[in-house]
Symmetry: C2
Subunit: 307 residues, 2 copies
C-alpha cells in the first residue's frame, strides 16, 4: 500500500562534557538509516538489520527503533503497524549515540508516513522510550540533538536548541574499541560531593552562556568535566593522551563522547579541528588503537527523510 | 588628606534556586553603606558599625569588609591603608547577602579612592576573600551580582551577567527570624545522588536558556530547586506555605534566598509580583512570623558610589 520511507539520523556527542544526560550535539558524519513501511497488522516488526552491527534484538520491545515505534503507535492510537529495516552506520558501544540514531531514524521515517506528522518535540517522548531500551534510563542527550539538530538541551520533558556560531567545530575520534554503556554507567555508581556538583554546574553555565553570547573565552573556561570524566577515563586506554593532544591543538575543551570510548573536542575553527584530529588519532595510535575521526560543525544536522 | 567616599551595595538573592553558590541577582531595596577613607598607616581599621547589626567583628581580618580591603591592599601592593565605617541596612542571618553587601560596599568605596580604579571583575577576587570570612567558603553568588548588577553567574574566577527582560520582577520576603548561614550549610552535609544533580543541572540550564531567550515558559519549567531546598526547607517555619502562596499568584518559581530564611519568587510582571508579595507575607503571618517584602526587577542595580 504505502511506499517505503527512508530516514537518516546522524551520530551525536552525548553529555558534551558538562551536561551529563542533558546536553549533546549532532555530528555531520556517520549515522544510521531506517526504512519504514506501514503494515496492516497492529504491531511493529524488525524485518532486517544490516551494516556495522547486526546482532541486535529483533523483538520490537527490545530494539530501540522498535520500541520507539511501539510508543508512537500507542501514543497516537494508530490502527496500523510498522515494519522497519535498519542500516547501522554507527558502531555500538562507541559513545556516538548508535542506539539513539536507529531510534530517531525510525521515528522520523514513520512520522513521514502519518497523515498529520508530529513536531520533533512531539516525537521526543517516543524517542526517549526507545532510547531507554538500550541504556535503561530516560536521557535525551543523544536523541534530542538528533531530532532538533545542533547543540540541544534535552531535559525529561523539554528540548531547547542552544545557538552555536556556525564556525565552531568539533572533532570526534572513535578508537577501534568497545565500551559498553552499561559498564560505563556502573563506573558512576556511588555518592557525590556537593562541591563537585557546584564546580560542574558552574562549568555547564559557562558553556551555555558562552554559546548564547558566542564568547569562545567563556566556553574555554567552562568546557571541563570534573564530575563524570574522572570516573570513566580509566576505562579508556589512552584517554589522557588524546585529551592532551586536543588541548595542545587549541581545543576549547575535550572529554568523553557519551559513555565513551570516543573522545570529542571543540574548536573555534574548522582548521583548528582538522589539525587536532590528526594529533588525537596519533595519540590513540601510540596507545595501541587504530581510530577514525570526524570533523563537524558543533551545530550539526538534524535527522531527515531521504529522497 | 583624602576625603571620605560613601558607597552603597544592594541586597541580593543568592543561589537563585537553581544555581547553588554560583547564581544570584541583586535587589532594588535595602542595602549596606560603607564610608571609606585613606589612612597613612599600612593597615585596615573598622572605625564604626551602625545600623541593623552592630555586634560584628571589629578586627579587620574577621570582618568581611575589612578582609576585602586587606586583600585589595595586598593585591595592589598599596602603601596606604583604609579606615571603614559601616552602616548595615541588611539584617544578618536573613539570606539577603548582608555580609557580602558590606564587603562590596567597602570595596567599591575604596576603589574610588584609587588612582587607577579596578573593574568589577578585578574587584571580584577581593570580594570573594571578604565573603569567605563570614561563610567559610569562596562563593560569589552574592558579591557577584552586587558588583555587576542584575542576574550574575559567579564562578570561582569569572563573572558573567545573564540578560533578563526588564519587566521580570522578584519578590523577596524576609521573615522576622534568623537562620545562621553556618547552620544552613550544615544541613547540606552528606552525600548526593547523581540523579539529583542531573535534575538540578537541567533546571539551571532551562532557567539560563529562558533568560537568554526571554522565554518565560522555559524559566517556569526550570525554576525549581530539587537539590538544596529539600534539605533546608525544614529549617524555615512556614516555607512550604509561603512558596505555595507565590506559586498560586503565578510565580515562575519560588525558593529560599541564599541560606534563608528569606524566600524569593520570580514573576513575569511587577503587578504579579506585588500581588504575590501580599500573599506571601500573609502566609508567613499564618506561620507566626511578621515579615517585610521587597519587589524589584530581577535585573537589580549594582553597588555604587553615592554623591
Amino acid at each position: 500500500m504505502s511506499s517505503d520511507i527512508r530516514a537518516f539520523s546522524p551520530a551525536s556527542v552525548g553529555n558534551a562534557g558538562v551536561g551529563f544526560d542533558i546536553l549533546g550535539h549532532s555530528i555531520d558524519g556517520p549515522g544510521d538509516l531506517a526504512i519504514v513501511r506501514r503494515i496492516a497488522e497492529p504491531t511493529v516488526r524488525i524485518a532486517a538489520i544490516r551494516g556495522t552491527t547486526v546482532d541486535l534484538p529483533r523483538v520490537a520491545e527490545k530494539n530501540t527503533a522498535g520500541m520507539a515505534l511501539l510508543s508512537l503507535r500507542e501514543g497516537l492510537g494508530l490502527e496500523h503497524g510498522f515494519e522497519i529495516e535498519l542500516e547501522k552506520g554507527i558502531p555500538l558501544g562507541s559513545g556516538m549515540g548508535g542506539s539513539a540514531a536507529s531510534c530517531v531514524a525510525a521515528l522520523v521515517a514513520a512520522n513521514a508516513l502519518l497523515a498529520t506528522p508530529l513536531t520533533p518535540e512531539q516525537l521526543y517522548p517516543h524517542a526517549l522510550a526507545g532510547e531507554a531500551v538500550a541504556s535503561g534510563s530516560l536521557h535525551g542527550d543523544n536523541v534530542g540533538p538528533m531530532l532538533l539538530g545542533g547543540l540541544v538541551l534535552a531535559t525529561k520533558d523539554a528540548l531547547v536548541r542552544i545557538p552555536v556560531p556556525a564556525h565552531w567545530h568539533c572533532v570526534l575520534v572513535h578508537p577501534d574499541a568497545v565500551l559498553e554503556t552499561r559498564r560505563a554507567r556502573e563506573a558512576l555508581k556511588g555518592h557525590y560531593a556537593l562541591g563537585d556538583f557546584v564546580a560542574q554546574s558552574a562549568n555547564l553555565a559557562l558553556v551555555l552562556a558562552g554559546c548564547f553570547q558566542g564568547d569562545v573565552a567563556l566556553v574555554r573556561r567552562g568546557l571541563s568535566d570534573v564530575l563524570v570524566e574522572p570516573r570513566r577515563a580509566p576505562l579508556i586506554t589512552g584517554f589522557a593522551e588524546v585529551k592532551t593532544a586536543a588541548l595542545d591543538c587549541n581545543a576549547l575543551g575535550a572529554s568523553i563522547s557519551g559513555a565513551g570510548p570516543s573522545v570529542f573536542a571543540w574548536f573555534e575553527s574548522r582548521a583548528d579541528a582538522e589539525a587536532a584530529a590528526t594529533a588525537m588519532r596519533a595519540a590513540f595510535a601510540t596507545a595501541g588503537f587504530a581510530s577514525e575521526s570526524f570533523v563537524s560543525p558543533i551545530a550539526g544536522p538534524a535527522a531527515r527523510v531521504l529522497p
